[in-house]
Amino acid sequence: MLTSHDVSSLVVDKLCDQEREQNTAVTCFYFDFAARKEHSVTNMLGSLLKQIVGGMAKVPGEISRAFQEQRMAIGGRGLRLPDIVKMLQTITSSLRTFVCIDALDECAPVHRVKLLDSLRQILEKSPRTRICIIGRPHIRAEVEKRLAGRVISVSVGTSRDDITEYIRVRLGEDGTPDAMDESLAADIMEKIPENVSEMYVGQGHRESFPTLFC
């Protein structure tokens, strides 16, 4: 029920709310196993750049010039990874930027290596940049290694409050209200969060447990 998408989109929205008044850019990317081919590092980082530039009143000269120059080539020419990294380094140095990357584990491993290296290069030039990565634990070691010394890791699970809230909303959307009465609803609200929590108490988490995550 609490999916990585939910966490990512929540973080993005909260950042957007917080940063509205500030001079900052909030960008996001959702990896998807089914779209592995299209989600190359170039396209992915290009899309971050696209979101930043799309929010600016004026396209930065460096990017505008590169765009005009490539048009001189027959059929135009796409951006190369080093160009994009350089542009991102420049733009994030002058504009505080948040990047939220969802489901990094669904990015092809060969692309992931390149992506993490590119992110490291960006952070080296622009240390104020903030990157939030959401993924399954098996890539944790890889993320921490490639972005050495810059990573805080946090376990994301579903809290009991999350479950209560989820059930409350779902009961409200019940398509067969005749089958539900107040005491049954109250029973569900009480028993399900309780039982779900109990199942994970053994995992050593008090308020939250690292499950219900996909």
Partner: protein, 163 residues
């Protein structure tokens, strides 16, 4: 290089000009047509301008500028104004598409719609998140070394759990 630009044939552009524009103010098109064969180096550009001005007939071009009938440079400026107006927005969307064909904002909107409010919000209140973000001056304005927040959740037990 000029041949690389995607243009209709010169005949087509002249036709468009005459059909939509010339009857209103013949001075513009005749001036431009005079320019076409006279200057081979810029001729192609002039055709481009003609094509675009004909395409944006609701803009300035329908209002003849005072004193432009005898002064070709005024006409030319007027064409260029339209050309610039026409291409700024167009160029911007082309540039954005060139940066990447992907549209993650659309995906975000889709996910946002299906999310239940407040679920997962506790993450924002964790020390890790605050420290990463730099809220409440943890690291000045997020100037600390920890530029990356990695949120991990266990696989396997997921969407199907309660749904």
């Amino acid at each position: 290089m000029v041949d690389g630009i995607d243009l209709p044939s010169p005949y087509a552009s002249t036709d468009m000009c005459e059909a939509s524009f010339m009857p209103r103010d013949p001075r513009f098109s005749s001036a431009a047509l005079l320019q076409l064969p006279g200057d081979p180096s810029t001729g192609h550009n002039q055709r481009l301008l003609l094509y675009n001005s004909a395409g944006s007939k609701d803009r300035k071009m329908s209002q003849p500028t005072a004193g432009s009938s005898t002064n070709f440079s005024n006409n030319s400026n007027s064409f260029n104004n339209v050309w610039n107006n026409y291409t700024v927005a167009d160029d911007r969307s082309q540039l954005l598409a060139w940066l990447s064909p992907l549209e993650p904002k659309l995906r975000h909107r889709d996910i946002q719609e299906h999310r239940i409010d407040n679920v997962g919000e506790w993450l924002m209140h964790t020390e890790e998140f605050r420290s990463w973000h730099g809220w409440h001056g943890c690291h000045g304005e997020g100037e600390g070394d920890n530029g990356v927040l990695f949120c991990y959740g266990a696989p396997g037990v997921g969407k199907t759990f309660i749904r």
